[in-house]
């Protein structure tokens, strides 16, 4: 009798995976150019931040489509810096630190752009929504960083930086920034809660005595 062959695991291409793969095609070319020119990854990170500040200005000026285009350019730099560092074997602890600090700077800039816009429009409700979304967006990364100093990994929760950035772009290009801010706010609160719960559970499991 022929031996039973183990069934190969079925891999299904998800639509978000497909979009990711499509976006990677031009990015690979940009990464190759940066590697050839040996551009320092920390410089790429900094250029990304400067462009993000321009996006924040465009948001503040209510020029949403321009802001969307500038955000796309800024986040190309933001996305490729780590990959270029790996290719050039320039990964360093300072590079990781610099990258995450600059990410917070970019995030806060975009929120401040929107807060400026809504305060100019005398819309205190949306000033508050944008401010709270900013607070929980920062807490999202803080809870993970703090948790990972006491537990091994804390990657629970949906609303991380890439999701936030893509939502900002969708809001800018389709002129639905209000709905996007609500989504960012609610899902960032949930993400922070998930991370607190996960860390509490991990620490609790660790301190429980084992029965021999």
């Amino acid at each position: 009798m022929a031996p039973l062959r183990e069934a190969a695991p079925l891999t299904i291409m998800t639509f978000t995976g497909f979009i990711g793969d499509v976006c990677m095609l031009p990015l690979r070319a940009i990464i190759a150019v940066c590697v050839r020119w040996r551009i320092h990854p920390n410089v790429l990170t900094f250029i990304g931040v400067l462009i993000n500040v321009a996006a924040a200005w465009a948001l503040a000026a209510r020029r949403f489509v321009l802001a969307g285009v500038v955000m796309v350019v800024a986040n190309i730099f933001d996305f490729i810096d780590g990959k270029v560092a790996r290719e050039l074997q320039m990964e360093s602890p300072f590079g990781g630190f610099w990258d995450s600090v600059m990410d917070r700077f970019s995030d806060i800039s975009l929120f401040i752009g929107l807060i400026y816009l809504y305060s100019n429009m005398r819309r205190t409700d949306y000033v508050m929504i944008a401010a709270l979304a900013m607070m929980f967006a920062i807490l999202t990364s803080y809870t993970r960083a703090r948790a990972e100093s006491i537990v091994e990994k804390c990657k629970v929760g949906f609303m991380e930086r890439p999701e936030r950035i893509v939502l900002f772009m969708i809001g800018a290009f389709t002129n639905r920034m209000g709905a996007v801010l609500w989504v960012i706010l609610v899902l960032s609160i949930l993400t922070v809660a998930d991370r607190i719960y996960f860390t509490w559970r991990e620490l609790n499991a660790r301190t429980k005595p084992t029965i021999a």
């Binding site: 998800t14 949403f64 949906f158 389709t174 002129n175 639905r176 920034m177 209000g178 899902l187 998930d194």
Partner: protein, 66 residues
């Protein structure tokens, strides 16, 4: 095992709230579709969006079938 009919929907709600799924999984796709539906289909008036224009497809459909 005697399972309550509420087990599956409650579990789905818990899994959506306590998110542990990776990107590019079917659960991630479902979440993305739900978010995009909310962003694009909710009429901006309902959220009192100060910058959005137009009523959005849901309000348009309600108007069409009224």
């Amino acid at each position: 095992m005697n399972r309550s009919p509420l087990t599956v929907p409650l579990r789905a709600i818990w899994n959506a709230l306590y998110w542990t799924h990776e990107r590019a999984t079917w659960q991630y796709d479902v979440m993305v579709i739900a978010i995009l539906a909310f962003v694009w289909l909710t009429p901006p008036d309902w959220l009192r969006d100060p910058t959005a224009s137009g009523t959005g497809p849901i309000a348009w459909l309600i108007h069409l079938f009224r």
